[in-house]
Subunit: 296 residues, 2 copies
């Protein structure tokens, strides 16, 4: 079995498809890497690119992608519903097959150093690659966003892991790290009321008395005149999709609000889909190997 | 892409694991064939064996399996909840990849001829391999079961496709054919009352005003003191699992009966599991390619 690492850069561009495609083409150029998915969100003004393959090749592709993206994305002109601190906002490495977390941590540190040395974009290391516990959490690093970054970087506590005390003028900073497989999952509500959406989002958050392993925020869906609970599931086998979905349904009901739909951004492991069927169809004993395609 | 056919023999033995394993070992012997699954049901006294691979190799493995099973299974001593007409009751070939239904029909006919010529077990051809419309349906061929077979074979109408007018003394007859992918799906109810279970099973059957593409019957689960709606889903993408499950739930509710669980016998295509998640999580736009493992 070959070593496989997944890499999921999030870039701050979701409205100009030609820019996203140019950035994505950098990944396609690299041998040993397979582009698995990319999807853009207009409201978030953000795109998630997913690729996987040989660890070294993934690091090379990530560097090429960052180098390209910072020439095309200017954060001083960027607006979107999703918080961001950089033109390339976050670059996580995820162990998929035959790889330990340590190896992904090393990839993250090497890439971080190179991004500062060659591109002069300051880098924060997060999650398993973090150099201090208070820097582990992405939202904490991102707090204040691009607009507050100049000030934040003056603080000793928020000095970057690679770089000086100033952000890159148009690309801000990039957060690079190593983490477990994460599902980006959005649940859309039939209310335009952001106050209500925020309450529902808060009620499921780990930080606010909700479910462990769940990060959630409220997002306005202007085009649809609806709102969205935008969720990061950081341990989807401990805290599965159906539990999140059903809890949002319960919490929304008290406001007379209903779920109109949900969406997975990027990829989802087969076992997470199988777990969903297991729960709803009350499977008594179903093995993932019963999925025809896994045996062929 | 190599040609792949699936073959799913059902044998009338589910209580003696050593017999099932000996029969299964015949499949393992054949190169070019992969054993995907086998599972036995005590109440049904029946086992379902699933393998896939090169069409010719599958036919060879099926013949070896039949030859072995008829020496080990004596239907004159067999009892079980599931209707059966043969020691090897039914052998379907299913096109999976790069194969047309016609090729599976040819496999079925060639195997049927060989089973009669070399083993002296009469063979009925069914579904896409049937020689007449009234012989298409498995339950119609099986009506009367092993015990009624001697009499049935006397009728001109029920002369086998290969063989004379008498069943094999201990192995009965075997039904061989070609069909679409089928999901064997059982839903367990918290009532021991077979009358109620039969009503619920009937309410979802195509033949009784229920769902198209659904065959269903009531089965007593003696060990558990429960009953089961045992279902064959003959077109699981037209009539999906969640619809069957939810309809059983609705029909059971009028008797105060609840579903305690469900089970898939053998294999299920990935798309059927994805469809389940799509329905329950109200995915707005989810592609099967978003399942991580499909891209690697």
């Amino acid at each position: 079995m070959p070593k496989i690492v997944e890499c999921v850069p999030n870039i701050s561009e979701g409205r100009r498809p030609e820019v996203v495609e140019q950035v994505v083409s950098e990944v396609k150029k690299v041998k040993g890497v397979k582009l698995l998915d990319f999807s853009s969100d207009q409201d978030h003004n953000r795109s998630v690119i997913t690729f996987a393959g040989d660890p070294g090749a993934c690091a090379k592709a990530a560097f090429g992608l960052i180098k390209c993206a910072i020439t095309l994305i200017d954060l001083t002109k960027h607006k979107g519903a999703h918080p961001r601190v950089g033109a390339v906002d976050v670059v996580p490495f995820v162990p998929v097959q035959g790889v330990e977390m340590d190896e992904c941590v090393t990839l993250a540190r090497q890439l971080g150093k190179r991004v500062w040395d060659e591109l002069k974009v300051p880098v924060y290391l997060y999650e398993y690659a973090a150099n201090a516990p208070y820097r582990k959490n992405l939202p904490d690093i991102r707090e204040g966003e691009f607009e507050g970054l100049s000030e934040k970087m003056q603080e000793e506590r928020w000095h970057p892991d690679f770089g000086g005390d100033k952000p890159h003028p148009t690309a801000g900073a990039t957060v690079i790290g190593a983490r477990n497989f994460l599902i980006a999952y959005n649940i859309n509500l039939d209310t335009p009321d952001m106050k209500v959406c925020r309450r529902i989002a808060n009620s499921i958050r780990e930080k606010k008395g909700g479910l462990v392993n769940i990060r959630a925020m409220a997002v306005k869906l202007d085009e649809r005149k609806q709102t969205q609970v935008s969720i990061n599931m950081v341990s989807p086998f401990e805290t599965p999709m159906y539990r999140v979905f059903e809890l949002v349904r319960l919490e929304a009901a008290r406001y007379g609000v209903r779920i109109v739909g949900s969406e997975v951004v990027g990829l989802v492991p087969l076992d997470a889909i199988v777990d969903t069927a297991r729960y709803y169809l009350q499977f008594e004993d179903f093995k993932t190997e019963q999925v025809l395609e896994t045996g062929l």
